[in-house]
């Protein structure tokens, strides 16, 4: 029951909404929690145990940490001497660190067990066979619990925040359980922070027309992206990447472009449905996209694409490493010499290894991380050089032409990245890149091979118009116009005509029904 499935949109969502609305505000969280678990059950009944186990583990570890801190505070209040206070705090910090480490091992262990075990055993067996060991390890097939890549990260962020004393641990199990299992976000995020959404999820909300219209708008807009653009592109993307050896240069590049568009329309579209669905209940979830294709650099792109993952890695991987004691020591020793960038290089390496691996267990994902690592570290190191060149030549870095160039450059780099990302294996990725540039010829445009990739003329027209609409809206937003505000200022007839028009487009031009296969949400697979 993906978020774009009729069962979700026309049965589950209205039903859960209606039931939750009928319950007094104080009890609404219980309804949301039960519906969330029913939602989870609809995918795989056994895997609910994994979610419940994670909730228990997170809840208990949080309480233990909190108890340690409470005791430390009490002891600190009793001692007047500043040095003693520091010593008490340091001791408790050590104990808390042990508790945190244990919890992280359990939760990360879960993730590794379900997501990476087969990758590790396969590669280990490969190594074993290289040294011609007679035995090989058995491959365990456990299946992947829905949303495990998302809720484990949420759980970790909660525990680390409690450890960092950003907020006290949660005492009410229900609030934590709902925050970890809320059904609109369980499949694809956004990866929320505890202090961002837990209170609002738990609070219960009264019925507001503004919530309904705004939620409805987001859902319709998201469906447009997913059903009209992403799903219609799917046959082409599958054709190109399933048969990499048969592609001409141009079809590889068109395939990479189309996949980038499909991924964006699919992921940001389903996030629109997610945010819209939550809004129907009066709950505001954080945004996960901020028009990423208007970015001027790779690092800006990652601050605007899958924002919640980038922010998570920044707060819990990048900061942890770059502000660790050792890195600060290094910084002091090498400031000014050529090794000064070492802490940054290490922290970024960890971030991008995690980013690559998070997307899946496969060498192409690791290489995808490495690709962005090189781009972003390079950008950081070359920044002073750029600055000197521009001041030396007297050019402005804010000039329109330079900005357009930067956006175009970033766009091409992103497409190249997605080409690696979508390839079935790392070897295929290199093969595709080589093909894209060596077998490139514009005659491919004339011999009609673009029409043999599963998209007919009509499909191309729909996709092109869809993308034009999508990016026109985004350019207007990028120019600083508040779209939903302008919409609310229209007379009702105009607003409703727009809604009905968009629904009309989805119904007519959507790639759904018996002539089309069902395309699962892409990011739910990561």
């Amino acid at each position: 029951m993906s978020y774009n499935a009729p069962l979700f949109l026309f049965v589950f969502l209205p039903l859960s909404w209606g039931v939750t609305r009928l319950i007094p505000r104080r009890g609404q969280w219980l309804s949301l929690l039960l519906f969330s678990w029913v939602y989870y059950l609809s995918f795989s009944p056994r895997m609910l145990l994994v979610l419940v186990f994670t909730i228990c583990c997170t809840y208990l570890s949080g309480l233990i940490l909190e108890r340690l801190f409470k005791r430390a505070d009490r002891l600190a209040r009793q001692t007047a001497d500043r040095q003693d206070r520091k010593a008490v705090k340091a001791r408790v910090k050590r104990q808390a660190r042990l508790v945190l480490a244990a919890a992280i091992v359990i939760i990360l262990g879960e993730l590794i067990l379900f997501k990476y075990l087969s990758f590790f055993t396969t590669n280990l067996n490969l190594l074993l066979s290289l040294v011609s060991a007679p035995k090989s390890l058995p491959l365990l097939k456990l299946g992947e619990p829905l949303g495990i890549s998302f809720f484990t990260l949420q759980s970790l962020s909660y525990l680390i925040d409690v450890f960092r004393r950003k907020y006290p641990a949660e005492r009410h199990w229900g609030r934590l359980a709902l925050w970890l299992s809320f059904f609109p976000q369980i499949m694809e995020g956004p990866i929320c922070r505890y202090d961002q959404t837990a209170a609002s999820l738990f609070a219960g909300h009264s019925l507001k027309l503004a919530d309904l219209t705004s939620g409805g708008q987001r859902i319709i807009w998201g469906l447009f992206k997913k059903v009209v653009i992403a799903d219609r592109l799917n046959p082409l993307v599958t054709a190109v990447f399933d048969h990499p050896q048969q592609q001409a240069g141009l079809t590889v590049l068109v395939g990479a472009f189309c996949y980038t568009m499909q991924l964006y329309a699919d992921f940001s579209g389903s996030i629109d449905i997610v945010i819209g669905s939550a809004r129907l209940f009066g709950i505001a979830l954080p945004e996960n996209f901020n028009r990423p294709f208007f970015s001027r650099s790779a690092s800006e792109f990652w601050r605007r694409w899958h924002i919640s993952l980038g922010a998570w890695l920044r707060d819990y991987v990048f900061y942890t490493i770059s502000f660790s004691h050792r890195m600060k020591q290094w910084d002091k020793k090498h400031r000014g010499d050529w090794l000064y960038f070492f802490p940054l290089a290490i922290a970024l390496a960890a971030v991008w290894l995690c980013n690559g691996l998070w997307h899946g267990a496969g060498w192409q994902y690791i290489f995808f991380g490495l690709y962005y690592y090189v781009l972003i570290l390079g950008g950081n190191l070359l920044e002073p050089v750029y600055r000197q060149i521009f001041t030396g030549l007297g050019w402005s870095r804010q000039s329109r032409g330079w900005q357009v160039f930067q956006i175009a450059r970033t766009f091409l780099l992103v497409i190249l990245g997605e080409l690696i990302f979508r390839s079935p294996s790392l070897g295929q990725a290199f093969g595709l890149i080589a093909r894209g540039f060596s077998r490139f010829s514009l005659t491919t445009l004339q011999d009609g091979s673009l029409l043999k990739l599963g998209l007919d003329k009509a499909d191309w027209i729909v996709v092109a118009l869809g993308l034009v609409l999508l990016f026109s809206v985004e350019s207007i937003q990028e120019a600083g116009l508040n779209f939903s505000l302008r919409l609310s200022q229209l007379p009702r007839a105009g607003r409703w005509a727009l809604y009905l028009g968009l629904i009309f487009v989805i119904v007519i031009a959507g790639a759904y029904g018996r002539n089309y296969g069902v395309v699962p949400l892409i990011y739910a697979g990561f």
Binding site: R82, R85, K86, D161, R164, R165, K166, D315, F318, Y319, T320, S322, F323, M327, K328, Q329, D331, K332, R335, Y340, F341, P343, L344, N380, E383
Partner: protein
């Protein structure tokens, strides 16, 4: 406050930090200089700056940094 400005100038020279706002938002301080800045501040004022405190709001101006330092000194 003056100490902060000295440290800032030391870490990332070439700007007048006394009235400058939006140090992080305008990317005057990048990832590299923040690392140096944090370790300098910790040494100089004998404080621990936790990752929780590393948010743009705390580093956007010399005044904001000074407030952060004072808060951490009070906590210790």
């Amino acid at each position: 406050m003056d100490e902060i400005i000295t440290i800032l100038t030391d870490v990332q020279p070439g700007e007048d930090y006394s009235h400058l706002e939006g140090l992080v938002d305008k990317r005057i301080l990048d990832s590299l200089s923040i690392i140096s800045l944090v370790s300098e501040l910790e040494d100089h004022f004998d404080i621990d700056i936790a990752p929780v405190d590393i948010v743009p709001a705390n580093f956007n101006s010399a005044a904001a940094i000074w407030q952060l330092v004072q808060k951490l000194q009070d906590d210790a």
